[in-house]
Amino acid sequence: MLRMYRMLVIASFRSRMQHPFNFVFGTLMAAVVNVVEFSLIAVVLSRFGSVQGWSTYEVAYLYGAILLSKTLYRTVASDVHHLEKYLVSGDLDQMLTRPVPVLLALMAQNVTIYVAEFLQSAVMLAISLSVLIGSGQTSWLAVPQTLFVVLCGAIICFAIGLATATAGFWITRIRELQVITEDSARFAAQYPLSLYPKWLRYVLCTAIPVGFANYIPSLYVVRGELGGWILAATALFTAGCLALSMRFWRFGLSRYQSAGS
């Protein structure tokens, strides 16, 4: 299975490299927009010091962690996000005639390495961690813990993305739904959830659980609140999300009404 995935990924890389200009160009633009987006909050925090007790470096940690998780998800599970395209064109039919699980095939289509996002999120995490460790707020243990948090976060992002895509089996057009469940929810998770009113916090920890991708575990990892058990709880929660979304996916796939003729 893994060999198959690797083979397909290499194939989609080679396809992509047929248009190197687009690749370089896309990377550069993503870098510009992402850096500007974070600099908005950085400028504000450098002026006012902190937001509800969260320092610039702590916010940078949240921001970097969710960005890295999302980037991992989009790299490993590439075209799950673009299921709509396959539903509309009927290309999903093609995949169903092959002896490879549809989800795996989708994950390996059009794989991109998001160089800009990887670099930016890694740099942000590195800087914020080194400052936080240097100031004694947290210890070296935070480094492996962060890797673990990012991994769980990537799986949660994947689960949310997969569940949203699955809705496409009924409603076909999912772009608008994705704006809500993926884009705006992740955007909210870039900042401390404590900023938001209770109801939104609940939504972000249950229905669209991006809160578990970075905010909740980071309470322990960088702020020393709660306790070590929260990491175990996050792992458990992540596994639950993954299982649920996979189950939903299988159900959706069995309800697939091939539309293209």
């Binding site: 060999r3 198959m4 083979m7 397909l8 194939a11 080679r14 396809s15 992509r16 047929q18 248009h19 064109s89 009927g90 290309d91 039919d93 093609q94 169903l96 005639t97 092959r98 002896p99 490879v100 699980p101 069995s254 697939y256 009404q257 091939s258 003729s261």
Partner: protein, 322 residues
């Protein structure tokens, strides 16, 4: 090889909402109606058969094919391909079948043709030696060598179809599903594909199920034809018997050089379908009257300047079956 018992497929489609605020109400409307695309179809296809599957657009052709290939699950009834249900054992069945959909390619658009074969071979777990042997044979039969290293996006339609056929056969499937394999091709390319398919079926015993709109495909390739209409199997039998049943419907367009007049009635068994300023369109059944006889009769109406034989209307043929 393929056995289909009483399958039906019902789609649930939303009822269109009309009137004021239609768009808003449609969003919350739960109203669904059942649309039966395929109704209670049964048939068996033996190993080595070459079967044509025809019917008008929207008759349920592709829905049937999709159920046979495991893309759709039948609402009722059972499908067996090589003894397995494509519904419950999708990946196992996928390994035993090949499929070519004329409208879309299964090759990797930006990669050389050969790379697609490498990927597919890995997907279908074809051992290296088998892959080399089969590819060599397919290359020879389909004359692939001229474009084996060309990216798929640069192939002509005919080349792409040949490449796609080879892709579907690389894992030596027992059954081959072909959906409009000659669509959009010129006469030469069509002939090449047909010759190959004939050889494939004759020499390697591959079972083929072919859907097409091209009656020539059916006449030249299939010994057995199934006709589907409005979701039901309207005919299943030999091509000869079908021909007897519907005759040989033919349409002739006759253009006159000068003025012409059409009499009120004539003896010969053909009918006037359309009358224009300088032409008439005539329909006849060649099992009852030869085209020459029709033209002789029309010659009495005026000076014939041009004669054009037209492809018979497909929908029309189907209606004749009843």
């Amino acid at each position: 090889m393929i056995s289909v018992t009483n399958i039906s497929k019902t789609f649930r489609v939303p009822v269109p909402v009309e009137g004021r605020w239609a768009a808003a109400r449609a969003l919350f409307s739960r109203a669904r109606t059942d649309k039966e695309a395929v109704r209670d179809i049964s048939f068996t296809i033996e190993r080595g058969e070459f079967v044509g599957y025809i019917g008008p657009n929207g008759a349920g052709k592709s829905t049937t094919i999709k159920m046979l290939t495991g893309i759709l699950h039948p609402t009722r009834g059972e499908v067996r391909v090589a003894g397995l249900s494509p519904h419950k054992h999708r990946t196992d069945v996928a390994r035993r079948i090949g499929a070519v959909f004329g409208q879309r390619s299964q090759l990797w658009w930006d990669l050389p043709v050969r790379d697609s074969y490498d990927i597919l071979a890995a997907m279908y777990k074809v051992p290296d030696r088998d892959k080399r042997e089969r590819l060599a044979r397919l290359t020879e039969l389909l004359e692939l060598d001229e474009f084996l290293l060309t990216p798929v996006r640069k192939l002509s339609l005919g080349q792409r179809m040949r490449a796609d056929l080879a892709a579907a056969l690389l894992h030596a499937p027992d059954v081959l599903f072909l959906d409009e394999p000659t669509i959009g091709l010129d006469v030469v390319a069509k002939k090449r594909i047909r010759t190959f398919l004939q050889a494939l079926n004759r020499d390697f015993g591959v079972t083929v199920l072919l859907t097409t709109h091209d009656m020539d495909d059916i006449e030249q390739l299939c010994r057995r034809v199934m006709v589907i209409n409005r979701g039901e199997l309207a005919y299943d039998g030999s091509i000869e018997a079908l021909r007897e049943r519907i005759g040989l419907p033919t349409t002739v367009k006759v253009t006159f050089g000068g003025s012409f007049s059409v009499p009120d009635r004539w003896e010969e068994p053909f009918r006037l379908a359309e009358r224009g300023d300088d032409y008439v369109t005539l329909e006849c059944n060649r099992s009852l009257i030869s085209t020459m006889e029709v033209l002789r009769a029309a010659g009495a109406w005026g000076d014939i300047a041009d004669v054009h034989m037209e492809e018979p209307d497909f929908e029309d043929i189907i209606h004749r079956i009843y």
